[in-house]
């Protein structure tokens, strides 16, 4: 890309910026892990990272391939059991931010990571919920990172694995859920936030060089834009260097390009 950075780098950097040093963040593997560690290595050194394997305040120097890599435990303040992680720390309301992704997302930020096709006779059997179902309702706020395409940004999910703002945008309140839910969706093209009233995800910022036509073409529903749409600040030299260093260390440690997303 002539701009000197890739769309994937823009996505990771934009997601990282959502976190602050005050956050206690529940981290998933892949894109979320890259974004969370980039935040910790740049503008949010005080950011607390928690992985569902039980590692609290972990400071990995390379991105883990799995959610329970030894690196996470070795660099953690403490490591608790998995039941304790889900009961005391997640359900107990100690986590301010959760990072999620999925195979499909709809206009209200609901996610599918279970099946493509009917549940009983799936066309593609995906991994399933993992921690996502309860992360989405127990963390203070949810950030979602996903590559955008009409195949993944769909009108109707094949299966609702993880609650966003529900089928109508009112479900969280009706179910007595007190956490905020999806507060930000970062893609390789743009950023979206829920409309204050309807809770529908609306474009609030476009990455440099991206047009609204491109974003709409990559979305399976009639995408709305917020009243004010800004341009995403491109990655700074510091952000890019930190991300590329992290990816290089990760590739060296794992002997492959895995975890580089």
């Amino acid at each position: 890309m002539s701009s000197g950075y890739t769309a994937a780098e823009m996505m990771t950097v934009a997601a990282a910026r959502a976190l602050s040093s005050r956050d206690i963040c529940f981290v998933g593997i892949g894109l979320p892990s890259a974004a969370c560690n980039l935040a910790r290595l740049t503008h949010a050194p005080g950011l607390t990272l928690i992985y569902e394997s039980g590692t609290i305040e972990t400071k990995p120097s390379v991105l883990p391939l799995s959610i329970g890599d030894g690196e996470l435990c070795e660099t953690a303040l403490t490591t608790v059991s998995v039941p304790e992680m889900f009961r005391y720390w997640l359900q107990g309301g100690r986590i301010t931010a959760g990072f999620l992704g999925g195979a499909q997302i709809d206009r209200f930020g609901n996610l599918n990571s279970t099946v493509i096709g009917p549940y009983a006779k799936p066309k593609v059997r995906l991994p399933g919920s993992g921690g996502a179902t309860e992360i989405a309702t127990s963390c203070g706020r949810i950030f979602i990172v996903m590559r955008q395409s009409p195949r993944t940004f769909v009108k109707k999910l094949d299966f609702l694995t993880t609650l966003g703002h529900g089928a109508t945008g009112r479900e969280r309140r009706e179910l007595g859920i007190h956490t905020e839910g999806p507060a930000l969706l970062v893609t390789d093209l743009c950023m979206m936030k829920p409309d204050e009233e309807s809770k529908e995800m609306c474009v609030t910022s476009m990455h440099p060089g991206v047009t609204m036509e491109q974003v709409r073409a990559a979305t399976g529903w009639e995408l709305r834009a917020a009243d004010m749409v800004s341009e995403t600040e491109p990655p700074s030299a510091v952000e890019l260097e930190a991300l590329r260093d992290l990816n290089r260390r990760t590739a060296e440690a794992h002997g492959s390009s895995l975890g580089m997303e």
Binding site: L65, Y119, P127, E134, E171, L175, I177
Partner: protein, 275 residues
Amino acid sequence: MSIFTNLSAAVESVVHDGDRIALEGFTHLIPFAAGHEIIRQGRRNLTLLRMTPDLLYDQMIGAGCASKLVFSWGGNPGVGSLHRFRDAVEHGWPCPLEIEEHSHAAMANAYAAGAAGLPFALFRGYLGVELPTVNTNIRFVDCPFTGERLAAVPAHRPDVGIIHAQKADRAGNVLIEGIIGVQKEVVLASKRSIVTVEEIVDDFGTRSPNAVILPSWTITAIAVEPGGARPSYAHGYYPRDNSFYVKWDELSRDRDTFTAWLRDNVLSRPKEAVR
């Protein structure tokens, strides 16, 4: 009978056809050696419980050991799909596989409830999602004090719990370090248990008074299996073989390639000598 035995004798006496069994280890300490021995002994109709089926259950499912899987995340971590699991669910190969699907929170709570001797696990979860519509074991109860609607799932009470750990002492107590996952809960929740260890030591030496130790009288059988968690890892002994996890994607994609791998790497391994 001594608690110490060899792995084939342990599996032979503890694991039976049709049992509900849980081989646990959250990325770390996955009991591959024990799972391979179950494959070699040709166990059938097992109900396999595990939060993250991982490569081990992919192999056991592909080998035809399982008729049901209870799980919460069925992928190859950081790599992609579990192809044998998918083939069983999508095409019924090598035999149909019934699934009971949960979230991590539900599985972790169900093990803890089993260890606590409770009939069911209670937690705040499964709100507004579809899993309860396809899994009748997910239900809801109202809190008798506040009226809050909470999720309930049956406690996990496996016939057999199997884990790998770092060390046993001569008395048969077991020390687990690092990411401890649900190792303790699965042994305490199960009717019978097998623990494989890296080594036996005279004593555990200097340790925190809060070290995670399973007393010998909570365990049915212990077998020494150095490297018994490979290609997963054992904290303090060997790292995760990430390259094998990547390679598994190719090895497992095709039925013939998988069958050849299983024959050459699991089935043909000579039965171990008594240690």
